[in-house]
Amino acid sequence: MVSVLILGFILIVIGFWGILVKKNMIKIVLGIAISETGLQLSMISIGYIYHRTAPILNDAVPRSSAVKMVVDPVPQALVLTAIVIGVAVNALLLSYVISLYKHKKSLNISDYKELKW
């Protein structure tokens, strides 16, 4: 699972590159979404243990020896909600961008100087 962790970290760095360097606001939102995906991948891979199965204790995983057979369920529970929240927050950011664009007809973040000091 080290490969998935590395992939997740690469995606986080790519997303941060998008957030810091790009001028187009939609690309900044996409950068946030990409780094979020990378974060979720790396969280899942940290909870993974080799040669073990999903934390669902049905017939294949007897309850008595479940502790020796399943991967860590806590990061999975975290990521499960984080994905849906991420979708909603991205929708909020995009609608903010839409509303800014309707106001000034520009997607370039340098045109919005009101918050600069």
Partner: protein, 233 residues
């Protein structure tokens, strides 16, 4: 130019930090004590085969209530932004939209019911198999997205949507309070009988709570999609 160099320095430092994390990382061999505790005592205590569901709905149920609140706030924020900005640009929305092709129309009408049914299946079986309220709600919203793409003039019944959303949100808290009054604490699932392990109607209140979460997430994401489609024409 200086800003770009600064960004490159910041990002390379950040990447170096992540590289140090990866190079010193050893894959786990055993569950840590918290996870071992959850996995070891969960089946006898709560009776849900899916440990992730038990953590999300019961052990960390208060956090899930918080997450649902964040989702609600984000959905209302989308509505606020798009409603405010939609008012000024009303006139240039008047032009007629092209109708969808016959393949899309037939496919969407055929697929909508199975997609909604599949979403319902996912959240009703959330305590038995992978999936749950969040995933099932997202599947239902994707079915409605298909409907929005195919029939641009289609509008959901706003009053019904917000009624389902408020009902499920309120009952989520009420079910939590029942756990507080009749069992061990807020959002405790054991005020309903645990039933036989592995059946659909088992694990106390977990299926009830996940159904409510599924309805809430489904209606909220549908609301977001409808606002993004631009229903204010």
């Amino acid at each position: 130019m200086i800003k770009r160099i600064l960004s490159i320095i910041v990002i390379s430092l950040f990447a170096y930090m992540l590289y140090l994390l990866v190079s010193g990382w050893e894959p786990g061999k055993e569950l840590n004590s918290l996870a071992a505790n959850y996995v070891g005592r969960e089946p006898a205590e709560l009776g849900a085969p899916n440990v992730v569901t038990a953590i999300v709905v019961t052990y960390r149920g208060l956090d899930t209530l918080g997450e649902v609140t964040v989702l609600f706030l984000a959905a209302s924020g989308v509505g606020l932004f798009l409603h405010l900005s939609g008012k000024s640009g009303k006139n240039d929305r008047a032009k007629k939209k092209r109708e969808a092709s016959e393949i899309l129309r037939t496919g969407a009408t055929m697929l909508l019911a199975p997609i909604v049914m599949f979403g319902t299946y996912i959240f009703i079986n959330g305590h038995l198999s992978p999936g749950g309220g969040f995933q099932g709600g997202a599947v239902i919203a994707s079915g409605l997205l298909l409907l929005f793409v195919t029939f641009p003039s289609y509008r959901t019944k706003y009053s019904a949507l917000s009624a389902v959303e408020s009902f499920s949100g309120a009952f989520y808290v009420i079910v939590g309070l029942f756990g507080f009054l009749l069992a061990g604490g807020f959002l405790d699932n054991r005020f309903l009988p645990l039933g036989s392990y592995g059946q659909v109607l088992s694990a106390g209140a977990i299926p009830v709570i996940y159904t409510l979460i599924g309805l809430k997430v489904g209606t909220e994401l549908t609301g977001i999609l409808e606002h993004m489609k631009g229903s204010s024409e």
